[in-house]
């Protein structure tokens, strides 16, 4: 079968490693990249792909089937729509857009032009998440009653400095929009739809316009409930980044950051330990609890994600994170932010 012809737009922090990974994806033929910053031409040269300063020129001149958008959030919709009009399938980095209204515009354009959207929530391709989803949705915990998530770590001062100082601004910055959105997407993927959120948000440690800490409650459509504790200013490894080892640039102790609780068993994640009472006549807090482990293959989620995108373009698979799905994750995340501001729970 012929390879899928892909173009990449944006060779920044995310786009540059994406370009390198795309070269490794079997189904993919990375044809060209577009980036307004000409300094990044060297990346294209290194990878032996064409470079354009102007993405419009790229999509006009090259015969492409799909594009990867690794652009600042506010450009996702406008550039995404322009590409959709050319009949190009869209891989859009998360969040799908900065607002739900813009996400809607992008989704509508994709529909009109009959192209697919895949939103870049790469954790859905983590083999740990895939397994957790299989365990929860497959009923191996019984009825899910609750879930707890901790995302606690210390971002170094440099994270918010210099050209990255936008991260402390309300418009697109802050750990809720940048980081928590991944936790929310994981939760939605593993446990189902979230329809109520409440958050207490605080910026009293860093004193930035954006939050540094949040304590959140959730209610799922299924009736399960949950808590999320989030802080980026405490020396802790109890977070996705500090426990899964999926980001090679960050330190990980391979501990746990999520707990899933069901009526028949609970699951410690990402250690993937399922705990249950093995003897049905000895069920309760005074009896020994049995622990079962799972063998999980270590795979690169990005490679899986991009090869999925190629198969979506070939019509072999449907997007694991569709535009609507990415929009809902954004909507829930924005509701958490709003609840933190108003002090009121929000029903979605």
């Amino acid at each position: 079968m012929e390879k899928v012809r892909i173009g990449l737009i944006g060779l920044g922090l995310m786009g540059t490693p994406h370009a390198r990974i795309l070269k490794k994806v079997e189904e993919c033929d990375l044809v060209a990249a577009a980036e307004v910053d000409e300094k990044q031409k060297k990346v294209a040269e290194e990878l032996g792909i064409k470079f354009y300063k102007n993405y419009e020129e790229m999509i006009e001149k090259e015969t492409l089937q799909g594009v990867i958008l690794a652009l600042p959030n506010h450009l996702h919709a406008p550039i995404g729509i322009a590409c959709a009009k050319r009949g190009l399938h869209l891989f859009v980095e998360k969040p799908i857009a900065p607002s739900v209204a813009e996400a809607d515009r992008l989704i509508a354009a994709a529909k009109e032009n009959k192209v697919q959207i895949l939103v870049g929530h790469q954790r859905r391709f983590s083999s740990l998440v895939e397994k957790a989803r299989e365990i929860v949705t497959g009923g191996q915990l019984g009825r899910l009653v609750g879930v707890t998530i901790t995302w606690a770590l210390l971002k170094p001062g440099s994270y918010y400095e210099g050209p990255l100082s936008w991260r402390k601004e309300q418009k697109g910055g802050g750990p809720i929009l940048i980081n928590l959105i991944h936790e929310i997407d994981n939760l939605r993927y593993i446990c189902g739809e979230i329809d109520e959120v409440y958050a207490q948000v605080s910026n009293r440690i860093r004193n930035f316009p954006v939050e540094d800490t949040a304590s959140i409650t959730l209610r799922f459509k299924s009736g399960a409930i949950g808590t999320v504790f989030l802080t980026d200013c405490s020396p802790s490894l109890t977070s996705w980044e500090g426990t899964t080892g999926e980001n090679p640039l960050l330190y990980s102790d391979f501990g746990n950051c999520y707990n899933f609780f069901g009526t028949d068993a609970s699951l410690l994640f990402p250690q993937m330990k399922r705990r249950y009472y093995a003897d049905p006549t000895k069920v309760g807090w005074n009896y020994p609890i049995t622990e079962q482990g799972y063998k999980i293959p270590r795979e690169d989620p990005y490679i899986k994600e991009f090869s999925h995108f190629c198969r979506v373009i070939q019509g072999k698979e449907i997007p694991r994170t569709s535009g609507e799905d990415g929009r809902r994750t954004l909507e829930v995340t924005l509701a958490i932010k709003r609840s933190g501001e108003t002090g009121q729970p929000i029903r979605l």
Partner: protein, 348 residues
């Protein structure tokens, strides 16, 4: 110094434990015990103390300095007020009373009769909890950022059966019975609670009372906290399952509390402190340092009675008096209310 003369009212589940504790303490006089149910005569005899079926007869006939009261919650006020009128100092089991109005009347009765009213939130007497309080309040982990509390113990079916059916009815339930201890711990370690929101669910057991609760709190000073509690999932994580305080509960070596500060994190009951040693290498890309906290273990129930005696002798202050315990009850009831109304609750 003269030995303190104590009596006990109520010899059920917790009363029996108090009886055993007091009978072992050489420096007090465990004068008598009473229970409306004559079957407890046997325990009294075994422990070498007098038995009365009527507590009124006991407090009328015997010369006592104080009484430990471990009767059902609705009786805390009538029994407590009767003892106060007799001029007896009181160690009342938690919660202080069945509702806030009864708590107020009991506090008033103690005040009018100039007797001590101490409340049996025994965890405050656990040296590990005291150490945690010292660490947090002493600034050893910097500014407190947040707290997470987990409590997932599976209650067996017979916990709710026969004479214990009340536990599944309004007035029972894990918020009043179990969660109240978690609230009291947070209050003792960190300070008062200023705002809260709770998601409350009874969908797994389908009892009139809740089985699962997820909470977001704000603590005076600005830190936030999450509590997740369920009594219907095999998690075996929670104070009783992890501290080894009561070996009736199967023990797992897990942490149920994390205290997150700007300079360090403390886990409980693992009693480990995590921090970055080198400020130039502080952040998510670096390994964390780990330090054990040394604690001498001591039985909190014995220390509680000892504190009660010290207060009677005028050499100590109560770890928790009536007014303090009323606040703990107020928060627990507010959690229930928040769950029912779907509203956040702010404390004046």
């Amino acid at each position: 110094m003269k030995k303190v003369r104590l009596g006990l009212i109520g010899m059920g589940m917790i009363g029996k434990l108090h009886a055993e504790t007091m009978s072992k303490m050489k420096d007090i006089e465990f004068v008598a015990a009473s229970d409306a149910d004559a079957k407890h005569q046997k325990t009294a005899t075994e422990l070498g103390t007098k038995f009365y079926q009527s507590y009124k007869e006991m407090i009328g006939k015997d010369t006592l300095d104080g009484v430990v009261i471990a009767v059902p919650n609705e009786l805390h006020l009538p029994v407590g007020a009767t003892c106060a009128k007799k001029g007896l100092n009181i160690l009342m089991e938690k919660p202080i009373a069945a509702d806030l109005e009864s708590a107020d009347r009991l506090i008033q009765a103690a005040k009018e009769n100039k007797v001590i009213l101490m409340v049996g939130h025994h965890r405050r007497h656990n040296p590990m909890i005291e150490e945690l309080r010292r660490i947090v309040r002493g600034g050893e982990i910097g500014k407190l950022v947040g707290v997470t509390v987990l409590w997932s113990l599976y209650k067996p079916k017979d916990y709710f059966k026969g004479p214990f059916a009340w536990r599944a009815q309004p007035g029972g339930g894990p918020i009043r019975i179990n969660l109240i201890h978690e609230i009291d711990n947070i209050r003792y370690i960190c300070g008062d609670i200023t705002r809260l929101y709770a998601e409350v669910s009874h969908e797994a057991r389908k009892f009139p009372v809740e089985d699962t609760v997820s909470i977001s709190l704000r603590i005076a000073g600005g830190a936030v906290a999450n509590i997740f509690l369920t009594d219907t999932a095999p998690g075996n994580v929670g104070y009783e399952a992890n501290t080894g305080e009561n070996l009736f509960f199967y023990q797992s070596p897990q942490n149920c509390y994390y205290y997150y500060g700007t300079e360090g994190v403390v886990t409980f009951p693992g009693m480990k402190k995590f921090f970055y040693r080198d400020p130039a290498k502080a952040g998510w890309q670096y390994a964390l340092c780990e330090e054990g906290i040394k604690i001498d273990r001591e039985d909190p129930y014995t220390r509680q009675i000892r504190n009660f005696c010290g207060v009677i002798q005028g050499t100590e202050k109560p770890k928790i008096d009536g007014v303090d315990a009323r606040k703990t009850l107020e928060v627990a009831l507010a959690i229930q209310k928040s769950g029912e109304t779907g509203q956040a609750i702010v404390f004046g």
